[in-house]
Amino acid sequence: MDPKILIARRVAQEITPRSLVNLGIGIPTLVSDYLDEDMGVFFQAENGAVGMGHRPPEGMTDRHLTDAGGRFVSFVPGASTIDSAFSFGLIRGGHLDLTVLGALQVDEKGHLANWMIPGHYTPGMGGAMDLVTGAKKVIIAMQHTAKGEAKIVPECTLPLTSERRVDLIVTELAVMKPEDDGLHLIERAPNVPLEVILEMTEAKLIHGPDVPEMQIGC
């Protein structure tokens, strides 16, 4: 299975019925493809969309209805629009049940760095700091390493996005959960040996003798 699809499918399992969910760009966006529409999940975007549906076909787009990337979307029945202050009120106020975001680094404390590489061009944090600080649950969905460099590290060397501990990290190799005592390895991807995960991870991973496999029933 494509690593990105594996990650998206695993993250989709974390989404509960009727919840309000914000998906970041990249892999997180794919998550909505693996959800049962009957679950009544509402997708929110920073620009004030509550209840986004699929991209409409050519000829049925409207320039007043877009996602946070400015791409045309549709609305599901029961959708609504709110202004930017209200949108971030939902995010900061703990009304957003889940945000799924990418990362540059995550560390043993569950701290996230995903907006800035000093010395490089920084496009801006957009809504990321509010999302990570305010959402009820934060899941990081990312490739386990970047060009061979570890992304799961003992302590973030890049500037943090928030002081808040993320709730879950899902990669194509593993599922990890930061807790008070450190970063727990809780699942392996199908057919991935424990040793491979430990080798690809600079952070110390806490685990028992048997780490269960993800159940993603392909």
């Binding site: 400015g70 629009t81 971030f88 801006g124 957009g126 809504g127």
Partner: protein, 217 residues
């Protein structure tokens, strides 16, 4: 009541060096005609407050292409290559603000609050040089109100009282910036007779709007 003005009249109101809030989100809900008017008039040294810089030719894009902006306050400037180049060369000063903080600072100015106390940014680079206020054992950043000489906003519908209604995600920063500009200029898609926008559909009461721009040149 407002007599609608032309784009040129609106552009003439805004001097070089002004601080200008421009609404919109990735080019959606932006008053595009006045943006082009300002660019064509060759305005200089503007301080621009905008959520993002959209792309080279959309949203606030034309203002950068025409070198109108000296300082930019935004949450994201990722997809505009001209902004990127001007920032790299040092001709454009940039202040990055988390999006929720940006909109709430604008609202604070508009509703007469002394600032906001937000958990966003605590313990990050964003907190550098800012005051931390403790409330019941929790830490919050004190972020100051953000006002502007002009707020340039876009609306779906407008009447001659200046009442505004917005459409879907083109709403975004518009109703908030309408509270915070010293002079508020609206570029509506349509102007309707007074009384045609039902009171519960008005998102910005006309008392906040100083100038309405004609829908025809």
């Amino acid at each position: 009541m407002h007599l609608a003005i032309s784009i040129d009249e609106a552009v003439d109101l805004i001097p070089d060096g002004a601080t200008v809030m421009l609404s919109g989100f990735m080019g959606v809900g932006v008053p595009d005609r006045i943006v082009h008017g300002l660019a064509e008039a060759g305005k200089k040294d503007l301080t621009l407050i905008s959520n993002d810089t959209a792309r080279d030719t959309t949203g606030p894009g034309p203002l950068f292409a025409a070198n109108c902006v000296r300082k930019l306050i935004c949450s994201h400037m990722g997809l505009n290559t001209i902004v990127q180049a001007q920032f790299a060369s040092g001709e454009l000063e940039v202040e990055l603000v988390p999006q929720g903080t940006l909109v709430e600072r604008i609202r604070a100015a508009g509703v007469g609050l002394g600032g906001i106390l937000t958990p966003t940014g605590v313990g990050t680079k964003v907190a550098e040089g800012k005051e931390i206020i403790e409330v019941d054992g929790k830490s919050f950043l004190l972020e100051k109100p953000l006002t502007a000489d002009f707020a340039l906003i876009a609306a779906r519908s407008c009447d001659y009282v200046g009442n505004l209604a917005y459409m879907l995600t083109a709403t975004n920063f518009n109703p908030i910036m309408a509270l915070a500009g010293n002079t508020v200029i609206c570029e509506p898609e349509e102007i309707v007779p007074v009384g045609m926008i039902p009171p519960d559909l008005v998102k910005t009461p006309g008392v906040l709007v100083d100038h309405v721009i004609k829908t025809t040149a």
